[in-house]
């Protein structure tokens, strides 16, 4: 029934002329277009707010507008302190971790502090700047690091180790090392490499490279077939193109099995393996590439660990009958691998799966409101090599350690491979001693790589150095997770 309005209450009729039949839909489209633009803008605005709130600590830290907190080791020992001058700590307190942990001076770029500066800013978007002190706890054992540093005596070198079960980085020491507490006034007179953590720098791997070559052989022929191979060594061997491969034993090792050659680190054996028709160069290249090498200049992304970047291993392999290629497969010449990556591969061998647990160095972050965020999680790398190859190398390394290193490594159940890298630098020739391996003991599940630069017979051996590392780590009870620091971290 039509509604009847009193005269004074009748609704006013607005005169709107009739429109073209197609107009209403077209006009609605304009409305929809406006709504779409508005919605897109509002979504973008929400994203902007998210970015600003989550990245604001980075903005403050990068522009130096706020104070910085502390970096501690797994037990709470201070490794960097932004709240007071580091010179107030005991002399030499930071001398073994300076080039790993770094500081805010801007002198070093690839350090824990510079790569995670936003986590160190004493700032929150809600409470503003300097309203508390943040603590960034690492998985590093300062005690073990210092033990390694001291064990080197006057020598320079590197020790890098991680828990191959959890991924916690335990030691990452590189000597010479800058002491941030002393400042940089004497930067010109600092020993070369002081500002660089050499655990992350590719170096000549020496015979530790034979691990990679052996993996390639295992993947191509199977473990049993390779283990059954025999080649003879008379102190040197001339390859198909006339190149001469010398063995470190001038009298030769005679005819050897793979296990014997691995233990002897026999160059002629492995050179013959590389040249043999059973190991095509394409197979070696494929395995190396899978492991993360940059072969023949191929572009490979660097490895990363909590923002720290580690250049990928590299080598040049052109012809398996030529000296340079064989020399590269033996870990000399143009082959370069960082101690970190050597350690990572040992992690994949230790668990006999061919895939390593990804190392991490940041354990937790305590913000200015004392809220703790766990940063370290156990993840795995992609498959670096096959499970069968990993198991094969695992057994060979364990056999090697049992037969040849039980004296120097003590009671640890280990697998190892040693190496001697021939270095030519600035017109000077010298040899670096390397040992890479893993420990299988329940209380010390560690994969490691140690390097002693310019080692002579009178110096500590690589195995003794490794034992110092393992002893220090075992005493640190590394299987216990680092306890987050919710109270001010204690320094010396």
């Amino acid at each position: 029934m039509p509604r009847i309005y009193p005269q004074e209450q009748q609704p006013r009729v607005i005169h709107v002329p009739p429109l073209d039949v197609s107009a209403p839909r077209s006009m609605r489209r304009a409305g929809k277009g406006t709504a779409l633009l508005l919605a897109a803008f509002l979504v973008a605005l929400v994203y902007l707010v998210y970015v600003l709130v989550t990245r604001s600590a980075f903005y403050m830290a990068k522009s130096g507008q706020t104070g910085y907190g502390k970096v501690t080791d797994r037990k709470g020992d201070v490794l960097f302190d932004g709240t007071k001058p580091m010179s107030e700590y005991e002399a030499g307190h930071f001398a073994d971790v300076g080039n790993l942990i770094g500081d805010t001076s801007g002198q070093m770029s690839n350090t824990v502090v510079t790569k995670n500066i936003e986590l160190l800013a004493n700032y929150s978007f809600l409470y503003g700047k300097n309203s508390g002190t943040v603590t960034l706890q690492t998985t590093i054992s300062h005690k073990a690091t210092r033990a390694c540093y001291n064990a080197l005596g006057k020598k320079n070198g590197t020790a890098v180790a991680y828990n191959w079960k959890t991924g916690e980085m335990l030691v990452c020491m590189s000597k010479p090392c800058v002491d941030p507490a002393l400042g940089y006034d004497n930067i010109e007179s600092m020993p070369s490499g002081s500002l660089l953590c050499k655990a992350f720098s590719p170096t000549v791997p020496g015979s530790t490279q034979k691990v990679s070559t052996l993996i390639a052989a295992y993947e191509q022929n199977g473990v049993d077939a390779v283990n059954a191979m025999q080649f003879s060594c008379s102190g040197s061997w001339v390859n198909a193109t006339g190149g001469k491969i010398n063995c470190h034993n001038p009298y030769g090792h005679g005819t050897q099995s793979l296990n014997e050659a691995f233990a002897n680190s026999c160059n002629p054996f492995f050179a013959q393996l590389v040249q043999s028709s059973q190991l095509p160069l394409s197979a070696v290249i494929e395995t190396y590439t899978q492991m993360g090498y940059s072969v023949n200049g191929q572009k490979v992304a660097p490895l990363t660990m909590n923002g720290l970047t580690i250049p990928a291993a590299s080598t040049t392999l052109t012809d398996s009958t030529e000296f340079e290629t064989q020399w590269g497969c033996l870990g000399q010449g143009k082959t370069l691998v960082s101690p970190y990556q050597l350690m990572l591969w040992q992690g994949a061998i230790a668990n006999a799966s061919g895939s390593a647990v990804q190392p991490y160095i940041l354990a937790s972050h305590t913000d200015i409101e004392n809220r703790v965020t766990q940063l370290g999680t156990t993840t795995r790398t992609p498959q670096l090599f096959t499970r069968a190859a990993a198991q094969g190398v695992h057994d060979v390394e364990v056999d090697n350690a049992k037969k040849h290193y039980s004296g120097s490594l003590g009671a640890y159940t280990c697998g190892v491979k040693s190496g001697t890298a021939q270095i030519r630098m600035d017109g000077k020739e010298f040899e670096n001693s390397l040992l890479t391996g893993f420990c299988l003991d329940e209380d010390c599940p560690v994969a490691f790589c140690v390097v002693i630069e310019e080692r002579t017979g009178a110096d500590i051996s690589n195995a003794q150095f490794a034992k110092v590392l393992l002893d220090a780590l075992r005493s640190e009870e590394i299987t216990k997770k680092p306890a987050a620091q919710t109270t001010p971290a204690q320094g010396n």
Binding site: P11, R12, I14, H15, V16, P17, P18, L19, D20, S22, A23, R25, S26, M27, R28, R29, A30, G31, G33, T34, A35, L37, L38, F41, L42, A44, L45, L48, V49, V51, L52, V53, R55, S56, A57, Y59, M60, K62, S63, Q65, Y123, F125, L126, Y127, G128, K129
Partner: protein, 426 residues
């Protein structure tokens, strides 16, 4: 005109809300600076302006009053912001341009409120376009964008925006006027629009002011989409795909062929060049971080010492002093202008195009300003409508606000039903 009885919120109530918002802001200013003469001066001017504005709006009543109210609110807030940056000093010039923008809004409303008349005036809009292009080409400095009159500088490209929006809008009658050239049927007005867009692109390339190009491109894109689909029941998926592919192609080509100074901006890592090309953005981001959610307080910011703090990076300047929350709310408030059309939709095809063009202009402009200064997209020197300092920008934004008002409160009495049946709708 008569007052509307369809609006759920009464005009006086909205104006009371404006007064309340400005009073709250002025109290915060008082908390920062104390009860000083400057604070009293600012308070009096803003609140009296609100009263005067409200009285004027009583005489210029319309069916919907959202645009006017939001404009009044935004202009007052903008005056308070600009007066407090880095210390209290009444922003007289900005305030005057704010009044001018308000007046321009009313004038442009009167000009285009009748879509039939506005469409008839299209030759005039094309004439304005030619004059402005000529002014940019002949009167600005060497490949510059400013005309320096000594006592004032004018940016003619800003005035090109409302003129271009007027060119973008079209009536159905115009769309039905098709011409034929060797069997090819086309709408002359659409070709003219494409030509004008190309002229603007070419001129901006010449003037090295490609920053504003996305705003014009967005308005042109919306207009063309609306024109190409006006008679269709549904927008064809194929058409959308073709248009989308075209947009992507143009964007990729522009990215690849951009001149070196644009390439530099596209690939700048501001954190590796904090004192060089990344200086403004680093300072802007740091200021937002320092301001946090609720800011350092009016007048306590330091970003004001950085160039373009009142224009290109004004979002950060507001964030630093008033907090990110207030800055976001201010942006949302500006969005209320185009959003008002969603509650009271345009009643003519011409006004629909006009409103969509302004919405595209405003939103792309704000996107370029805010996201550029926050380093999410390349940084370009464009303004936030009504918030950034700058007379040309303020006036052109005021004119465009008038278009929105016209779309919201049109006068549709120019043509009779019989005429409409004969010649098509507006």
């Amino acid at each position: 005109m008569s007052r509307s009885n369809t609006n759920p919120v009464s005009h006086p109530l909205l104006l009371l809300l404006v007064l309340f918002a400005h009073t709250a802001m002025l109290l915060l200013v008082m908390l920062s600076f104390g009860l000083t003469v400057e604070v009293l001066k600012l308070s009096c001017i803003v609140l009296i302006s609100d009263f005067v504005g409200a009285i004027i709006l009583q005489f210029v009543a319309q069916e919907a009053c959202t645009v006017d109210t939001v404009l009044l609110l935004v202009l007052g807030m903008s005056t308070i912001y600009q007066s407090c940056f880095g210390g209290l000093a009444f922003a007289m010039k900005h305030f005057i341009f704010g009044i001018a923008a308000f007046l321009m809004c009313q004038i442009s409303y009167v000009l285009v409120r009748n879509p039939y008349r506005a469409e008839k005036l299209k030759p005039l809009w094309y004439g304005c376009f030619v004059v402005l292009i000529g002014a940019i080409f002949f009167l600005t400095g060497s490949r510059g964008i400013w005309i320096d009159l000594g006592f004032i500088t004018i940016q003619p490209s800003e005035f090109l925006k409302p003129v271009f929006v007027l060119i973008c809008a079209s009536s159905i009658r115009t769309q039905l006027k098709k011409s034929e050239f060797h069997g090819w049927h086309f709408v002359p007005d659409n070709l003219l629009l494409l030509f004008c867009t190309a002229v603007i692109a070419g001129l901006q390339w010449y003037s090295r002011d490609l920053g504003s190009l996305p705003t014009f491109a967005a308005a042109a894109g919306c207009a063309l989409l609306l024109r190409f689909s006006y008679l269709r029941e549904k927008i064809s998926v194929r058409l959308m795909l073709v248009l989308g592919a075209g947009v992507v192609f143009v964007a990729v080509m522009a990215w690849k062929l951009a001149p070196s100074y644009v390439q530099d901006r596209l690939h700048t890592d501001i954190w590796s060049d904090m004192s060089g090309s990344g200086y403004q953005q680093v300072k802007a981001l740091t200021a937002i971080a320092e301001g946090g959610w609720f800011g350092k307080g009016a007048g306590n910011g330091t970003l004001v010492n950085v160039a373009a703090s009142r224009t290109d990076i004004v979002f950060s300047t507001i964030s630093e002093e008033w907090g990110l929350f207030t800055a976001i709310m201010t942006v949302v408030l500006v969005l209320f202008l185009p959003a008002a059309l969603l509650t009271v939709p345009p009643r003519s095809y011409y006004h629909s195009g006009l409103a969509l063009g302004v919405a595209a202009m405003f939103m792309v402009q704000m996107t370029l300003n805010i996201f550029g200064s926050c380093n999410l997209i390349p940084f370009t020197g464009v303004t936030i409508p009504f918030i950034s300092q700058g007379g040309s920008s303020m006036l052109s934004s005021g004119i465009m606000a008038g278009f929105l008002k016209a779309a919201q409160a049109p006068v549709l009495t120019g043509r009779t039903a019989a005429q409409l049946r004969k010649g098509g709708g507006a």
